[in-house]
């Protein structure tokens, strides 16, 4: 088993990445919004921890800053903002009825296998010890997208969007030991602005169509309808 060739810390990276993937699955299965926000916060925390471990393994010190940034942004600030929004929108006890739950979970498993297949040529190149985590990160990105597609509630869609960013961050850390700090800061800034804009949007949507169910956003379509 080649796993034995890796140091204990690198094995920890694998375990943390697998747990982050598990949290993505858990997000797909959750019905309560508050629990979803908590799961998303935990995913952010796991990623920050993972970044710290990779920083220790690869001796890249700017990754520590990245880890702290992720912790502050993804594990604390954005979940807090989403919590505040949920309270203001009075969605705390909201429980969504999941449509086609079994199909969604099967699609999720299928997406994990698909991501693995896509990245397989890269994984075979053996260029970096944590390359296998690239498959997991792509899977987390695709599961975030599935979450956005499968949910009707806007807050759930936003969490899906944010968890996609989590997957991308994991890819950057695992494949490349972190992008240059400038880029990381830019991406973090974009994510923060996006989160703020989402928050503003919820209120606009609710004002205009009186609900936060995006299935009701149907006025613009290519079908013929009476004007």
């Amino acid at each position: 088993m080649n796993l034995a060739h890796l140091s204990l810390l690198e094995q920890t990276v694998f375990v943390l990445a697998a747990l982050a993937l598990f949290l993505s699955f858990a997000l797909l299965a959750q019905t309560r919004l508050t629990t979803m926000i908590h799961l998303f916060a935990w995913q952010g925390f796991l990623l920050a921890l993972l970044t710290g471990v990779v920083a220790t393994v690869a001796h890249t010190h700017h990754l520590y800053i990245s880890a702290l940034l992720t912790l502050a942004l993804k594990a604390l600030l954005i979940p807090w903002m989403l919590h505040r929004l949920t309270r203001r929108l009075q969605l705390e006890r909201h429980q969504e009825r999941l449509q086609h739950q079994a199909l969604v979970m099967m699609a999720a498993a299928g997406l994990v296998i698909f991501s693995y297949w896509i990245v397989l040529p890269i994984a075979r190149l053996e260029l970096i010890s944590t390359r296998n985590v690239i498959s997991l990160s792509l899977a987390i990105v695709q599961l975030g997208m599935l979450l956005m597609v499968a949910r009707r509630q806007v807050v759930a869609q936003v969490i899906g969007f944010m968890s996609m960013e989590n997957g991308l961050f994991l890819a950057a850390v695992a494949a490349t030991r972190g992008m240059p700090l400038v880029v990381e800061l830019g991406i973090a800034f974009d994510v923060l602005v996006a989160a703020v804009l989402f928050g503003v949007f919820f209120f606009h949507i609710r004002e205009s169509i009186d609900t936060l169910d995006v299935d009701q956003l149907t006025r613009l379509s290519e079908e013929e309808r009476e004007q």
């Binding site: 890269i122 969007f161 991308l168 880029v183 991406i187 949007f201 205009s208 956003l217």
Partner: protein, 490 residues
């Protein structure tokens, strides 16, 4: 370099400044002034590049490919700002928009200009991504400016679809960085385009081809390639007209520019493999699909701005297709097409803004007899549509002709589909246009105060380029072609 810094700092500072200016008239003039200053700075930059050659630094890059796009962006931004000042004041008086939202509008307009200019002039692929995403974020609030249910829905769709697409592009960027790690000396240089281009052959072909697919899907969503175009008709039609003009005219170009830059890297990496033209073929496939599908959808539209946004999808598809063919002739055609399409489409949207002002609605069925009510608007719309449909002697005809010639040279069996597509789009546009311009005038339709000067300037430029393309422009484009394909046309 100073001109470049000025071009970037002016809109950035403007965005911050306009966030606090409360007086609407002052904001309008300030917006205009800033865009004029940015355009002047870009002209200075162009002169500098013409004289001394390309400018490179670690973070910024100005070479023949992006200099004309930079000047174009500043120019269209300026003319749109000229149009937007009285138009938005009128909209505000009508009550569709409050004072606070106008502040947001002006500030985001400048922020949008800044992010586009940054995307065009950066040398770092990561910063390119950040800037394109920033452009999306800046415009999202603007699309929903009028706060109607349709506008909010359009903005939400735009946000979500472009967000998802852009995330794929970020994954592609990470993969490019991954490939670069093993080739480039210092990790900091891993996202530097000039360094990557120099070492393109050494980049791993497997990683680069997978990366390119993700990047094409990601940035292609922003270009409006079918089937990722769903957000485009909604976003371009529901926002305020100046927004539609810059979105259609400028943002699509920036996204396509990103795609082409990355294609240059991928081509370099794949040159010694079994499929050296993978990137080109993908671009051709998506481009042709967008071109044909958009032409067909054009016919069904009932909203004038939606119709023209499908026309944007179609033209961007054509440009993508041409970039995919590769080779100096097609690339020259594509670059020329990006230029003239941008000028024509923004002119059309400005005219459409006036037309909807006259008719009081965006629905095609209810806009009639423009040429009788206000000849300036009527003729403007007529010439604009003629230009975009590819009538000679306008510039679009010249670029489309070049693309057709290139297709006949390398892919002769695809030429009929191109011709058919052009024909379908032509028919669709004119079928809708004819009653709008020449139909019976409805009761009580009055002429309004319009400023057709920007439109006239744009259309004259397009005409000039079509009739006798100026030597310096042709030289610029030829240098860009040389950079992209390795051989020049002229």
């Amino acid at each position: 370099m100073n001109a470049l810094y000025a071009t970037l700092i002016l809109p950035a500072a403007g965005g911050l400044l306009l966030a606090v200016v409360r007086n609407l008239t002052l904001a309008g003039w300030l917006n205009l002034g800033l865009t004029v200053a940015t355009f002047a700075a870009s002209l200075l930059l162009a002169l500098q590049v013409l004289g001394e050659g390309p400018l490179y630094s670690d973070s910024l890059l100005v070479d023949p490919f992006n200099i004309y796009l930079l000047v174009l962006t500043c120019f269209v931004g300026m003319t749109t700002a000229i149009f937007s000042r009285p138009y938005m004041a009128h909209v505000c008086r009508q009550g569709s928009c409050s004072q606070r939202r106008m502040r947001l509008y002006h500030s985001m307009f400048q922020a949008f200009m800044f992010t586009m200019l940054l995307a065009l002039s950066t040398n770092n692929l990561g910063v390119l991504w950040v800037a394109v995403e920033g452009a999306t974020l800046a415009t999202v609030m603007l699309v929903s400016l009028y706060r109607t249910p349709e506008a909010v829905e359009a903005a939400w769709k735009y946000f979500i679809l472009c967000g998802v697409g852009i995330a794929q592009a970020l994954f592609g960027t990470v993969l490019v960085y991954f490939a670069a790690q093993h080739v480039v000396g210092s990790p900091e240089q891993g996202l530097n385009w000039t360094t990557l281009y120099m070492h393109a052959v050494e980049l791993s072909p497997t990683v680069m081809s997978i990366a390119f697919v993700f990047l094409l899907v990601g940035y292609g969503t922003k270009v409006g390639l079918v089937p990722l175009h769903q957000w485009l008709p909604d976003a371009h039609s529901e926002g305020p007209t100046p927004m539609s003009a810059v979105l259609s005219g400028l943002l699509l170009n920036v996204a396509l520019y990103a795609v082409v830059r990355l294609k240059m890297l991928t081509d370099g990496a794949l040159v010694q493999t079994a499929h050296p033209h993978l990137a080109g073929h993908l671009l051709m496939g998506f481009g042709l699909l967008s071109f044909l599908v958009a032409g067909l959808f054009l016919h069904r539209q009932r909203d004038i701005k939606r119709m023209f946004s499908y026309s944007s999808v179609e033209h961007m598809g054509l440009a993508t297709f041409a970039f995919g063919i590769g080779g100096p002739l097609a690339t020259f055609g594509a670059l020329l097409h990006m230029l003239v399409h941008s000028l024509t489409k923004s002119a059309i949207f400005v005219t459409v803004g006036h037309a909807t002002h006259i008719a009081g609605t965006q629905s095609i069925e209810h806009i009639r007899g423009l040429i009788r009510t206000q000849p300036a608007v009527g003729w403007g719309l007529l010439f604009g549509v003629a230009a975009i449909a590819g009538f000679p002697p306008f510039g679009v005809f010249a670029s489309e002709f070049l693309v057709l010639t290139a297709t006949m040279q390398s892919w002769p069996w695809l030429t009929p589909s191109l011709l058919i597509g052009l024909g379908i789009a032509f028919a669709g546009l004119f079928r809708h246009l004819h009653p709008m311009v020449y139909g019976p005038v409805p009761q009580g339709q009055q002429p309004v105060r319009v400023n057709m000067l920007p439109v006239a300037v744009h259309l004259l430029l397009v005409l000039w380029i079509g009739l006798a393309i100026p030597a310096f422009l042709a030289g610029w484009l030829d240098q860009a072609v040389r950079l992209i394909t390795g051989e020049g046309l002229l």
